[in-house]
């Protein structure tokens, strides 16, 4: 079956040679900038894009003409040297890239040829080839997953190279293709893939497989991306869909936007000013020489046969030529050496000082600091505003199940650091309950309450709710178990540590999730029917409605062995409350109070809910779901819409509270930074309560400070929101934000004018921020926030983080620094003058977008106050002394 010559159609197996229409690129990749022939012209072009080099080329050319009073060697040699060194560096880097490409392109892969697996290098792969990838091997191209040695056609992949996440992800082949595992069978496979054009979105794929005259929808679940590796699976068989530069990972390659330091830009301006001076000097000199030149100075021999430059009979030519002479003569006013020496100094500063600083080496994760660019060293010494992400930056991304509220009852006896700190500030001494000797200590679980542990929950008045709660924890997730199927040895691979903590909690409550097949979740439940009885229960997972940032919730539809159909849902309080069935207001109110209590203790909360489904309701919904799933366009949106249909009339079970531990040394570091006059802003996606409490714990806010809180969680706004008119809501919130801003600003001015006024802080949430960032209100926001010693923005989106950063960057004209660890911080990191990524843990995206990478937030002190300051002073000394030496000459 031969596909039409359209990039969107792939025939499998690949058509034989001769019939092949050359529309697909091969699988060999090249990441080099140059090849043998383009190296010199292209490399030279790159060099002469720098103004300094261009200028000196001009001077060198001028100095070779007879009007030059200086020897051309003095100009040509340094320029040639600079160019040569740069070109050699470029060539060396490109050579290394080339060698890497060669290694990659020549890696062997098994390809199906004549019913046999034949090892061929990657570069020979073609679209439509059927390949076999063995365990721990890398996928050579973007593959359509056909069959796996694992049961149910699943395989596990690690995507560390794509997004840095080390947890395993599950992929599942279409059921119709599971059998094509052996070479004999695979050779019979004939099909055609209709798919989207190559693009760079790693998490989407829309396409259909036309196979045996049937159209089967394809999702990202059947796509194995180049760059990932196969884990926990003996081997898989797949068909090549995108090759080489058309693979998603290669489509994602892009250049890091280059940032230039303010000093460098200032230097450029100075150089420009110098050039202006030079121009004026030469002009005045040229005019002067035109006027001066006169035959009366007989001793100068200006009369007969003298060069045009000195011939008094044409003064204009004299002036013009003298102008160029003077430019070559005075060319040293522009210091070429300055650029070279600054570059060398910065190179040493970043590679020798910053990268090798033992004070910034984190031994546990074996991560030294990394200066990914050497352009911004001295910028570090001038930072005035730091924008910090919370999770993973200020706090460890180490989640521990800490407390829970089930059916209106709070369980869990721990006291958080934040509560201890708050109590200390209020002068109350909290007697910490001693942990019972039997308390379980485990990563992700820091919970003790004798009412729940070891099956004791059965005696609680709301034991049925408890059962639902634990089952929801054990079933509603996308966690993968790894290792032995025993409670001690199992490890959970989860997309977020929260999920792992919740599943670990379920395990400790006696609902041990130990195995996941594609359709089943196996849970070893103890003490459910009778104390001490252990039974393995398999729940059939019918649908998974995945978590994403717009939905803020995750649901699973499962069928109990006894046929009961339940939808378990967990998510942020706001979205769950919107979808609860009416009635039972007491529980809702109590639970909301508990949520607030957890939030103020600095805990992260999730609400759990369930809904019993009748088979009819489910079937009719499932049809819509499948339809949405197989749609080619806007599949995501359609799926979200369908999910809305079933995620309603939920019954609240309770809520969980997870502790997010502060990173080591964060409060001390922030204290030091604020003493150095640096203002720290926290930009987080968390709720206001959590954010404020983290800010308290970090020393950003204390009780002596005056807090301005601009929140959208007011009764007035809620009331308008309940009416549901989007336009009205927008207008109302905008007015409300304007009013609040005005009030706060007036108050702030009052405090500023009172002599030893309190320090000010601003807390604002994402919804209000959206309106406050409006051009009409932006100035007010800026005036208010710049007068505050610390600012906390909560519930902000990645885009808003970037907007806030650039607002300060442009509005206040101060040097800004963004620090973060996750993908949601990338835009903020790129928007600030300096972007810092937290390295060493999961997630490389922030690091890859950053200018510097450090392992811990507390290393900022060293990076800014030692390296930044010294680099700044040293670079300034170099600039100063170079220009001084210049004017000495």
């Amino acid at each position: 079956m031969l596909g039409v010559p359209d990039r969107g159609r792939v025939a499998i197996p690949a058509p034989v040679q001769g019939f092949r229409l050359r529309v697909f690129k091969g699988n060999s990749i090249s990441t080099t900038k140059y090849n043998f022939f383009t190296f010199f012209p292209k490399g030279m072009f790159e060099q002469f894009r720098r103004v300094a080099n261009c200028y000196f080329l001009m001077i060198s050319i001028l100095s070779m003409t007879p009007i030059s009073p200086v020897n051309p060697v003095t100009n040509v040699v340094p320029l040639t040297l600079v160019l040569l060194v740069s070109l050699i560096k470029e060539a060396f880097e490109d050579w290394k890239r080339f060698q890497n490409d060669m290694v990659v392109n020549n890696t062997l892969i098994d390809v199906l040829q004549d019913e046999k697996w034949v090892a061929v290098p990657w570069k020979k792969l073609q679209v439509g080839d059927i390949v076999r990838v063995k365990q721990d091997g890398f996928f050579p191209a973007d593959l359509l997953f056909l069959a796996s040695t694992n049961a149910d056609g699943v395989c596990y992949i690690e995507t560390a190279n794509l997004d840095g996440e080390t947890n395993l992800k599950i992929r599942k082949a279409l059921e119709r293709t599971w059998d094509y595992l052996t070479p004999e069978k695979a050779a019979e496979f004939k099909g055609e893939v209709q798919c989207e054009q190559p693009n760079n979105s790693l998490y989407t794929f829309t396409g259909n497989l036309i196979f045996q005259k049937q159209t089967l929808p394809l999702s990202p679940n059947q796509i194995l991306l180049r760059g990932c590796s196969l884990r926990n699976t003996e081997y898989i068989v797949g068909a090549v869909v995108f090759t080489g530069h058309e693979t998603k990972v290669m489509m994602n390659s892009m250049n890091v936007p280059s940032k230039r330091s303010t000093l460098e830009r200032k230097l450029d301006k100075l150089i420009l000013a110098l050039f202006g001076t030079l121009f004026m000097m030469c002009l005045i000199g040229a005019i002067g020489s035109g006027i001066f030149i006169n035959q009366k100075y007989y001793y100068l021999g200006l009369d007969k046969g003298v060069a045009a430059e000195f011939n008094p009979s044409n003064r204009f030519v004299v002036a013009a030529l003298t102008f160029f002479t003077l430019i070559t003569l005075y060319s040293t006013v522009i210091p070429i050496s300055l650029y070279v020496s600054i570059e060398m100094i910065k190179f040493i500063q970043s590679t020798q000082f910053i990268n090798k600083d033992l004070h910034m080496y984190h031994a546990e994760t074996n991560t030294p600091a990394l200066a990914r660019t050497s352009n911004l060293n001295e910028e570090l010494g001038q930072v005035e505003y730091i924008f910090s992400d919370k999770t993973g930056t200020l706090t460890r991304n180490l989640m521990e199940f800490f407390k829970c509220s089930i059916g209106g009852e709070v369980y869990g006896s721990g006291v958080t650091e934040i509560e201890k700190g708050a109590a200390q500030r209020n002068g109350i001494k909290i007697q910490e309950l001693r942990k019972s000797a039997t308390a379980i200590q485990e990563k992700g679980f820091n919970f003790d309450d004798n009412r729940l542990m070891r099956g004791a929950w059965r005696n609680e008045p709301n034991s049925d709710t408890c059962k639902e709660f634990f089952r929801c924890l054990a079933i509603c997730h996308t966690v993968l178990p790894e290792g032995d199927e025993s409670p001690e040895k199992i490890t959970y691979q989860a997309a977020s540590p929260d999920e792992a903590a919740l599943v670990t909690a379920a395990k400790n409550f006696g609902f041990f999730f130990y195995r996941r097949t594609h359709t089943m979740i196996h849970v070893r439940e103890s003490c459910v029917e009778k104390m001490g009885k252990i039974q393995d229960v398999a729940y059939e997972i019918l649908n998974v409605l995945e978590f994403n940032s717009t939905r803020k919730r995750q649901s699973v539809v499962c069928r109990y062995p006894n046929g009961r159909l339940v939808l378990y849902c967990k998510g942020a309080d706001t979205v769950i409350y919107e979808r609860l069935a009416s009635g039972n207001d007491d529980l809702k109110k109590v639970n909301r109070a508990h949520l607030e209590q957890f939030g103020s203790a600095g805990l992260r909360t999730l609400c759990l809910a369930y809904r019993d489904l009748s088979p009819e309701t489910y079937e009719s919904w499932n049809e819509k779901f499948i339809q949405a799933k197989s749609s080619l366009r806007v599949r995501e949106t359609k799926l979200d819409e369908v999910a809305e249909l079933i995620e309603k009339d939920l019954i609240l079970i309770g809520s969980t509270a997870i502790e997010d531990k502060l990173q080591e040394g964060v409060p001390a570091c922030i204290e030091t930074l604020s003493r150095a006059g640096i203002k720290v802003w926290v930009l987080t996606g968390d709720q206001m309560g959590t954010a404020i409490n983290i800010a308290y714990a970090c020393n950003l806010i204390n009780n002596e400070m005056k807090q301005f809180i601009i929140s959208s969680e007011t009764d007035a706004i809620r009331e308008v929101e309940n009416r549901g008119d989007q336009v009205e809501i927008a207008c109302f919130i905008k007015e409300e934000v304007k009013k609040q801003l005005k009030k706060c600003l007036e108050e702030a001015q009052h405090y500023l004018h009172s002599a030893p006024g309190p320090k000010l802080t601003l807390v604002i949430d994402g919804k209000c921020l959206m309106y406050a960032l409006d051009p009409t209100l932006r100035v007010m926001l800026l005036n208010l926030s710049l007068n505050c010693t610390s600012v906390v923005c909560c519930r902000v989106s990645p885009l808003q983080k970037a907007q806030v950063t650039s607002m300060v960057k442009k509005g206040a004209r101060k040097i800004t620094l963004s620090i973060g660890d996750g993908a949601n911080d990338v835009s903020m990191i790129q928007a600030a003058h300096i972007g810092i990524g937290i390295s060493g843990l999961e997630g490389m995206q922030a690091v890859m977008a950053s200018d510097f990478a450090i392992a811990q937030f507390r290393y900022l002190t060293d990076l800014l106050l030692v390296h930044g300051r010294w680099s700044y002073l040293r670079i300034c000394k170099v600039c100063g002394s170079t220009s001084f030496r210049l004017y000495e000459n």
Binding site: K96, Q99, L162, Y203, T351, S549, V866
Partner: protein
């Protein structure tokens, strides 16, 4: 929806990890540090990379500043006074003679007078010695508005030719219009030699001639190194237009002190050049009769000619500049030392007081319009 990870062009997803940093200034193409292949060891310790090398960073305290200012004042003021008094002791006689030495009948045809060979150019001036002048008394001629520093003038010479006889014909092209007579090279060639100063002075006191010592008026290094003892003037001033002095072709260039002095170009347009020395003391109020041969054409370009007699001191000739400079610097240092001492006494600030840092001062607040 999802963030696209920013992979890079030289993502080597598979194995070899390049060194983490790239310093390409255009910011592009940075390799990703692959997490798997990280070195297992911490960065090596060295005092250089940890920036722990011994260093001296003096803290500039008020006391240190006051002390150093005082110290400078103490050193500089006496030097200044010494230099000034030395300069005051120098006795200098300046006599401008270019106008006075034109006979009144020629005052309308000066160029004709100066360029003609036949006219009598002798001119007598009388100078009075204001104070006792201790030998040696240096005789200078001073020219104004003479651009010896002009580029084509300055380079119009052949240094090779001046140095050795073998190179008589080399680098002649530098000499511009004064290269050859016929096919014979001019020695010394070039505009500099051609325009050599040729006024002469003879002095007498009470009809008793003063001997002008013209020995060793040129730099020793010039005589030994730059002007050859086997190079004799040849074809000099034999061309059409005669510029200045003629040279005795039987004396080698290394002995022609006047030429050597002239050939060292002056950096400014007004300059003095050494003419000779009088090795006897001149008494105060003595009248010196100077007989000048006013040969040199300074009238064409409108410059002045002066005759200068001067003694020297340890600081050189008569110049107040050095003394005043030392005194000014020393005086200001002294003044600052006193001012700082007063401020330090009555309105002191403690070193390292963070209350003065911009962000610790009373918050003024930002107002952006």
């Amino acid at each position: 929806m999802a963030m696209s990870p920013l992979l890079d062009d030289d993502t080597t997803l598979f194995d070899v990890n390049l060194d983490g940093t790239s310093t390409s200034e255009d910011g592009g193409y940075e390799p990703i540090p692959a997490p798997k292949t990280k070195s297992k060891k911490p960065p090596p310790y060295s005092r250089f990379t940890q920036q722990e090398l011994p260093a001296c960073k003096p803290i500039i305290t008020p006391k240190l500043v006051i002390a150093s200012f005082t110290f400078i004042a103490i050193i500089f003021v006496p030097i200044g006074i010494a230099a000034l008094s030395a300069s005051n002791k120098v006795v200098e006689i300046e006599e401008r003679y270019d106008r006075e030495c034109i006979p009144p009948i020629y005052s309308d045809h000066i160029l004709q007078y100066i360029q003609s060979v036949g006219t009598d150019k002798t001119c007598t001036r009388r100078l009075t010695v204001p104070k006792h002048m201790k030998s040696p008394v240096f005789i200078y001629y001073q020219l104004t508005d003479f651009y010896q520093n002009y580029r084509i003038y300055k380079s119009s010479r052949s240094n090779l030719q001046l140095k050795s006889k073998a190179d008589e014909g080399s680098e002649l092209k530098n000499c511009g219009s004064v290269q050859t007579v016929g096919d014979e090279p001019i020695v010394p060639c070039g505009l500099v030699a051609w325009s050599m100063f040729n006024d002469t002075y003879s002095f007498s006191v009470k009809d008793k001639a003063l001997i002008v010592n013209k020995m060793n008026i040129a730099w020793e290094s010039d005589k030994k190194g730059r002007f050859g003892s086997d190079v004799y003037p040849k074809n000099f001033q034999a061309g059409g237009v005669i510029g200045g002095a003629k040279l005795n072709s039987s004396i080698p260039l290394s002995e022609q002190d006047d030429l050597i002095v002239w050939m060292r170009p002056a950096p400014l347009r007004n300059f003095r050049k050494l003419y000779g020395r009088i090795d006897v003391d001149l008494e105060a109020n003595e009248e010196i009769k100077v007989e000048i041969k006013n040969n040199y054409n300074s009238y064409g370009y409108g410059g002045e000619k002066l005759l200068v007699l001067s003694t020297t001191s340890a600081f050189g000739g008569k110049s107040k500049f050095l003394g005043i400079a030392y005194l000014t610097v020393g005086g200001f240092c002294f003044l600052f030392a006193i001012v700082f001492a007063i401020i330090h006494r009555f309105k002191r600030r403690d070193i390292g007081d963070t209350a003065y840092l911009s962000w610790n001062r009373s918050p003024v607040g930002y107002y952006i319009k």
